[in-house]
Symmetry: C2
Subunit: 380 residues, 2 copies
Amino acid sequence: MPITKYALPDIIFGPGTFARMPLCARQLGAQRVLLVSDPGVERAGWVEQATDLLRADGLEWVYYNECVSNPRDTAVARGAEVYREERADVIVALGGGSPIDTAKGIAALVGNGGRIQDYEGANKLRKPLPPLLCLPTTAGSGSDISQFCIITDRKRRMKMSIISRTLTPNISIVDPLLTHTCDARLLLASAIDALAHAVESYLSVLSSPFTEGQALESVDRIMRFLPAAVQDKKPEALERLSIASTQAGMSFSNAGLGVGHSLAHTLGGIYDVGHGAVHSALLPVVMEYNMRDCLEKMAGIGRCIMGGELSNAEDTARGGIEYLRNFFTRLGAPVRLSRVLPDDTGLPAVSVGALQDVCTLTNPRTPHAGELLALCREAW
Amino acid sequence: MPITKYALPDIIFGPGTFARMPLCARQLGAQRVLLVSDPGVERAGWVEQATDLLRADGLEWVYYNECVSNPRDTAVARGAEVYREERADVIVALGGGSPIDTAKGIAALVGNGGRIQDYEGANKLRKPLPPLLCLPTTAGSGSDISQFCIITDRKRRMKMSIISRTLTPNISIVDPLLTHTCDARLLLASAIDALAHAVESYLSVLSSPFTEGQALESVDRIMRFLPAAVQDKKPEALERLSIASTQAGMSFSNAGLGVGHSLAHTLGGIYDVGHGAVHSALLPVVMEYNMRDCLEKMAGIGRCIMGGELSNAEDTARGGIEYLRNFFTRLGAPVRLSRVLPDDTGLPAVSVGALQDVCTLTNPRTPHAGELLALCREAW
């Protein structure tokens, strides 16, 4: 087995743990918090609850909400200015992947200076970051667990993957009650993002015995509980999705991802399409592409997806992919990129960009740009 | 699901990772290391290799080796004096559970002052500890991963369990090559300790979806690879035991243990018997005792142990226990306490002491002292 590194934030999981936020912030040394969130989370009422909690605890705060889907370099730079000007000491991120990634980008700049572009790639952040506490309001991004931070460079129309041990938050408070205000569309897109994290990290060349079990358990939980979560917002089902998303985060943060995420990142950069909306179209195609180089593992995923196996490894792997496509269709998730993108003119640029994405390095099959373009066309 | 907390050190796993020790110590701020080990590890040659690595890197060090099996309060107090007098800044623990627990006790006193007795129980350590880097030379104690520290109070003839998030080491470097110098007896006792960690934490009332999978995978790996590790010291088998021990550590540090460990701690305190030597006698008896209150989970362990299931949950659970007893017997591990203890006069005191042990709180079945004495007699 090759050398593997494994790191996680401290995780506090369970309904009602939101209320521990001020105490955890204080444990990280907080006197004046930079609270990072977005208008959607405000509308759901969680920002007000967060500031109520801070007030009741006597903690000062500054609020920053310039976070959009596919969070931007410019918002990160402004957030870092706010942190410095306001003399904040701890960053609290409350939201889905976008506010959390924005908060991570802010932390990177506060600790290391310069522009966020300076840190694209793996292990470029050399200096320590200010303490970061995350409270995810969706069950999917895993950014509250991971050492990944994905920021869009608007000028170059591309998403930068910034990966560093120091981007692992100090504490992640995963309160599944926070996902109760998500609508069905957001629940679905988030869970499919988590499913892609679990599958891609399980197939990754850097997967290890410490990540593989969590990845498969995550796949199993999402398959079993996503329908009830989307249809009836059953609290038990939503809780299981939060568990699954956390497990997928534990896996991909330490094992890396694959070309599905390379393509999703590049599609997000070029088309500014929501990250969660493209995985239902990409994941089955990417699984078919990878099968040649990791048949046994693909059969393992097939067993997990179908809850049983077919006569041989290849049939089980293919059966899992087919089952997944039907599952996505039944749930109303787009299985064609043409349903979420305005036109296909950007696809050649997407495939070239995805080849450079750091997630491509850990994909089990090494692609060339032509293959990535073929994947996009197949998913179109 | 109840609220759960999950914390781990940064883990660096793989053959040859020992050489990264100086770099990791520097990352923790080291200029002058307190290296904690013991005469057995010296004889195996690892202490010399460690000091060679430190010298080559230009790091200063002080060496402390007053560690014995069932590490003592007095050794912890002297080690803390050495740390302070020598102005060390990072503690590096190299060895099995005894040097690592000694190092943790030293760290506790350096950070919090007073006597180690002051911190018995859960969450008594309020102030931060100096950085701690662990390099386990056995595959079993899991102390390099866990927030547990077990220290013997010689006057009271009892082992104290000290449990605190801050006792989680900063970094654990798990190099399976370090276990190659263990003899068969030590490999066996260490692996059975890890097996007890996995089983007891899986059954614990604080187990969670984040710990249960790692626990079962650990059981599976130990059952499959322990024979080859003990008989031929096959490198692949030793590596799998290191993986299994790390997984069991990830599980029990966050889920806690049960009465098997309560009894083992108390037996160690009263008889000064090696911790690893008593689990092969205790574990099957404890599993039988717990079965009433966690039949489904016990069946899960039975399936894992036997690699298959019998006609119903109870048969599968009982089958697993029987299989385990035969497995221990075949490997030459004692399945009777009478084989490792000089006499049974201390057993009443053992059962009273075990009732107070913090591990009893997380056992799935709540015992009274009479039941614990009956367990000892049954294992006699």
